[in-house]
Amino acid sequence: MSSNAGKKSTGSEDVMFFMTLWIAIQGLVFLYLQIFLVPGIAVWNVTPSLLLPWVIYTIWKKRFINGISVAFGIGLMFDVMAPETFGLHALIFVTIGILIDIIRQPFEADSVIAMIIAIGVSNLVYALISLLALGLLNGFDGVLVSAGAIGLAYNLLFSFGVFWVMQFLSRLRVIISHD
């Protein structure tokens, strides 16, 4: 009896490990894309965040604690490349992770309304915390506020697009049949 319980526990840990590893690999891919490709689609010097829809999707679809740990790590790694605001993205991603976890609980897992609300709230929080942090660090001015407004709109569109592409891809299945 005790032996069976021990085996179950080991299997569950393996699943958790591989899930965390998979989330981490996904996060790294998104991180490198964010650093090298996304600046190419900047509009009025506002670069959208590819990591934001990834965090939303990961927290929504995967285990909360694994997702939020990886999101924190990826946020910190992203911040290393922008030392002026070191810690900002780690803070935002963890905050958004907690918010998404709170938002999704009353809804069903595939609720489209809940997903839309989660994406909207996440983008709003991202824009507000960024605005607040950058304003406190560098001072508030019209340029910062207008960039924040453009960033919010652009990120919102970008997040919806990336989120639904990820959801579509996650539902694809490769079927190999042998007739």
Binding site: V80, F86, G87, I98, L137
Partner: protein, 256 residues
């Protein structure tokens, strides 16, 4: 609830600690992370960024090189035009000319005409003579605003009074269907021999007298035994032309 969010709250506290302080202290913290636990990541990003900037630099240099190559080509072409214009050493003192580039052909292979990139805008008129640095080419038969058509001397429709440069023996320059040039209608017993230079005749209304046409390659009697016919090797190779000179006839010459 608290247990569920305990770890995220620790993360938040950690992130706030990282964010607090002056810009310099944040940079020091980021640098420490970059030097220690995140060194493989920072190293890979720096390498990729370096490769990206090098690629951009290579692209910019390639653009620059292409620009210089084009400029160089333009200078070579200008030099070619200049040297060709310099090499025109016929009696050009009283004749203005327009330098034109050959841009195409029209018509069937043995009766084809040449198209040049100058037209009415360059004061080119129908029947203007066309030459190259080596000899005559033909005459203008059609002029539009931006291009003109030349009837070359190897076209069977082209005819021109020519003469032997040494003895002034007169004849008519004509071409057969194969593009071979002949000086026809030479009177029997005329002083003409293989190797003589043939030039434009004083009887020509288009070309000024004395422009080189070609050299006599072979002499034969005509079928009716009334005239001599001389096969001519032209000085100008119509097939290898790049630039030509369209001579502008003077108004008084026109009227005459």
């Amino acid at each position: 609830m608290l247990k569920r969010y305990l770890v995220p709250l620790v993360y938040i506290l950690f992130a706030i600690v990282m964010l607090l302080g002056t810009g310099e202290s944040r940079q020091r913290k980021a640098a420490w992370f970059g030097r220690t636990i995140l060194i493989p990541y920072v190293g890979s990003v720096r390498s990729l960024q370096s490769a990206q900037s090098l690629k951009a630099e290579v692209m910019a240099l390639q653009n620059e090189m292409t620009r210089y190559q084009l400029h160089n080509l333009e200078l070579i072409n200008r030099l070619k035009e200049y040297t060709q214009a310099q090499s025109v050493n016929f009696a050009m003192e009283s004749t203005r000319f327009v330098l034109a580039e050959l841009i195409g052909y029209s018509g069937a292979f043995h009766e084809r005409n040449l198209i040049i990139n100058k037209g009415k805008g360059s004061r080119i008129n129908v029947n203007d003579p066309v030459i190259s640095p080596h000899g005559i080419i033909g005459k203008i038969i059609l002029v539009s605003d931006t291009y003109s058509v030349i009837l070359p001397l190897n076209n069977p429709q082209f005819q021109l009074p020519v003469m032997d440069q040494a003895t002034s023996v007169q004849g008519i320059l004509q071409s057969d269907i194969n593009g071979k040039l002949f000086m026809n209608m030479i009177r029997l017993s005329s002083q003409i021999s293989v190797g003589d230079t043939i030039v434009t005749s004083n009887l020509s209304k288009l070309f000024p007298k004395g422009f080189p046409v070609g050299r006599i390659r072979r002499i034969q009697e005509s079928r009716d035994n009334l005239f001599i016919s001389a096969e001519i090797t032209p000085f100008a190779q119509i097939e290898n032309l790049e630039h030509v000179f369209v001579l502008e006839r003077r108004e008084e010459e026109y009227r005459q």
